[in-house]
Symmetry: C2
Subunit: 454 residues, 2 copies
């Protein structure tokens, strides 16, 4: 006996379509607002308990960098201002050299910044917002067991052992990098899929306030680039910093005692020891094992007009470009735009997708996160001076030729330029820069010869 849709408000003459959003994380809860705003009957299904009641939410990063794409998506449901007011602007990276020297590199032009936001708080705000719509319902403790791409019938298991059946017109899989919804996709022919773990793991450490104030300058994303690894730190509203250490797993495994932790930090991050605190460091390093990072790519993103994947379920990325959440949020806008374009005719929306012109392939771009991730990982490999130099050159070129040379980071972070277009353009710019340098050095050589001869 599948549970039918929610009660229809009396007076409506057509039955509202039911949209089941699977996953009540960041993208799922934002999507619930989007679909509710359009008037669909929205049901959100989340495996876990309501995080607004839970004590500790484990296993995911604590804070995130919110940038243009994410903000635009929040704006659309009237949430931008609220979330921005709870975030901490970061105007620049602050590069920490081994000697402890700090050098800021602005993220963009004056006034451009990204925001450090608290993942759990953002999620809670979005859930609360979604719940305000009378046509949206949040179902916690609902673990997806099975679903049918033919009928849209879903089966959920409850922790009391009972199961529930629900039929939806559209299932939106927002259930993250290890999506349960996606398993059905994998069973179908001609579904392309890849999951790739990078050799790096990550570990979070907390840097407490000093005398009630931030231990470092707050309005920066602090970076300690070291050869094969790096640490970053983002500020939190409670005046702590969350430090994230990225390092190959084999390096993590080499460190097995508190003394080795200290030795390691002494060697690579000496300036952070007094700030994190030697005792906390010795203890917290062993609190949780290093976490893996996966990149997921797939195509297509939908099965017929019954199901579509969004966010990490469709395109999980490594965190180095700060785009996981932002790209997932942008999915909500893009799908909204498509719904507008086709007057909410779902079969039309998805049908077009399969045609040559990929009108709906808003995440065709996922193919580029190798590029993005690559460029950022490079950053960790390169010594900080070279990185500083390159960034400065890019920024200067951008100032000189603002319409020709746009740093990749700017396109990704401060515009809604499609990711693959940004990367294409970046490659093109690289060629242009290369040619400029060549001409320049050629001119200099000619000049030298000419000077020598005369």
């Amino acid at each position: 006996r599948p549970r039918s849709t929610m009660e229809e408000p009396s007076g409506t003459h057509t039955k509202r379509k039911v949209v089941a959003v699977v996953g009540g994380g960041l993208v799922g809860s934002l999507n619930a607002c989007y679909f509710a705003q359009r008037g669909f009957n929205v049901e959100v299904f989340e495996t876990r308990e309501d995080i607004r009641q839970a004590k500790i939410v484990r296993g995911r990063s604590i804070n995130l960098a919110l940038s243009h794409r994410g903000r635009q998506a929040l704006k659309h449901v009237g949430m931008e201002e609220k979330i921005v007011s709870q975030g901490i602007p970061m105007h620049a990276r602050m590069i920490h050299s081994l000697s402890g020297k700090q050098s800021p590199i602005p993220y963009g032009k004056k006034g451009q910044y990204i925001l450090s936001v608290d993942r759990a708080n953002l999620n809670k705000e979005l859930l609360t917002e979604a719940e305000k719509y009378p046509n949206a319902k949040l179902n916690f403790d609902h673990k997806l067991q099975d679903w049918s791409p033919e009928t849209g019938l879903m089966t959920f298991a409850r922790s009391d052992g009972s199961t529930e059946h629900i039929e939806a017109d559209l299932i939106v899989g927002c259930d993250g990098a290890f999506s349960a919804i996606r398993k059905q996709f994998l069973r179908r022919s001609r579904f392309n899929y890849s999951q790739t773990y990078i050799p790096h793991g990550y570990m979070e450490l907390t840097m407490p306030p000093i005398d009630g104030e931030f231990a470092m300058k707050p309005n920066y994303l602090h970076i300690w680039p070291r050869n094969t690894f790096m640490m970053i730190a983002l500020p939190n509203l409670d005046k702590t910093f969350t430090c994230t250490l990225f390092m190959p797993f084999e390096e993590f495994e080499k460190i097995t005692s508190g003394d080795e932790v200290m030795e390691f930090f002494q060697k690579y991050f000496p300036d952070t020891i007094p700030l994190i605190g030697p005792d906390a460091l010795r203890r917290d390093y062993f609190r949780l094992p290093a976490q893996a990072m996966v990149s997921v790519k797939c195509s297509p993103y939908h099965i017929g007009d019954k199901c579509v994947l969004m966010g990490d379920a469709a395109h999980a990325v490594v965190p180095f470009y700060g785009q996981g959440m932002n790209a997932g949020f942008e999915d909500c806008i893009v799908f909204d735009e498509i719904l507008n374009q086709f007057d909410e005719d779902l079969s039309e929306c998805f049908h077009k997708r399969t045609k040559k012109t990929p009108r709906m392939s808003w995440r065709y771009e996922s193919s580029i996160d190798a590029d993005l991730g690559g460029s950022l990982q490079m950053r960790a490999h390169v010594n900080s001076k070279w990185f500083l130099f390159r960034k400065h050159v890019d920024n200067i070129l951008h100032l000189l030729m603002p319409k020709t040379i746009i740093p990749l980071y700017t396109m990704v972070t401060f515009t809604r330029t499609r990711y693959h277009k940004a990367v294409e353009r970046w490659h093109w710019q690289d060629k242009v820069k290369h040619k400029c340098f060549l001409s320049l050095s050629l001119s200099l050589s000619v000049l030298q010869i000419w000077t020598a001869q005369s």
Copy 2:
């Protein structure tokens, strides 16, 4: 109540290890011979009924090209001679131009050839061979439901609705590109996986004998290279040819009537129409839809010392290089070599695998099938004259410098050079050839200038 191992022959004082081979296809049945030969208690589990009793085996290609790697693997269990005697040697490709002109391109040096073998017959022979070992048992109609990487406990469903539980010391997943064993791998962290469908489908057509004889020269692999598609034909013992048409799915879909089939063949494969027969062509084109082709890559290939993937389950490839079966068969040798190296100590075999030196990464090479597949798909794109020319140049260079320039095809097909080494070498050779051409043209230019001046 898990079924325990098979009855121990009286007189053995140590309990034999149980190896469960999941999948009774080509690689599974050959592997059964390998493990049985070493004295393990082997249990093969196959979902389908015994193909030796089945009437028609559907869904997979009819014949395959057996080359050096596969032959070496068969030799090891004394099967080479028998299988070779049932195959048809193909000494060269026979390229069919649009005008009907046929040009042979030898596969290698004189005396080197590949063999067209019947998939079903080969599978039957291997099953029968495996059954000859008293310590090997074939279990048909056993569909894997679940298994535990911790205990090696497996659950199989029978078609009568019953289930069976079996515990094994080592589980060898040889259950093909859509491996059920591999599903457990996907649930684990840090398992890298990709499945990629190429845009091409394939369709098999039969070319009957004419007056009791082969309709074309039998000792060739016939190829009709056309722009985005191609057809190939391999000879069978019953004097038929199996033709395989490779074409993008969208092209297949354009053809919806017998007349359109005729028009298409008239335009691209006119010489095959009288040989296949116009009536058969009109009919058989619609017998089955075009089949998809998937390439699978993953790492690692094992979970602890409990389970290892081999063959298509570990590294399915597109068929253009004729290496799917050969690579799968070679897995059996490679694992056998590793068992020798570590005195059959499984934990030792697999433990080493995770270390830096990938002693057991016999399919690290899978990363190269993009290269292999790519080069072959290129072949279909390139017009036949250019293809002929390049092949001839390669062969001539090989004759002139047999130790320096070895065609990629030769390394892959007639040696056991590891695939990735073959590709590395090929890239290196390409650079050498490129430099030769450059020097040559430079010398010619200098000569021209010098001649003009004097």
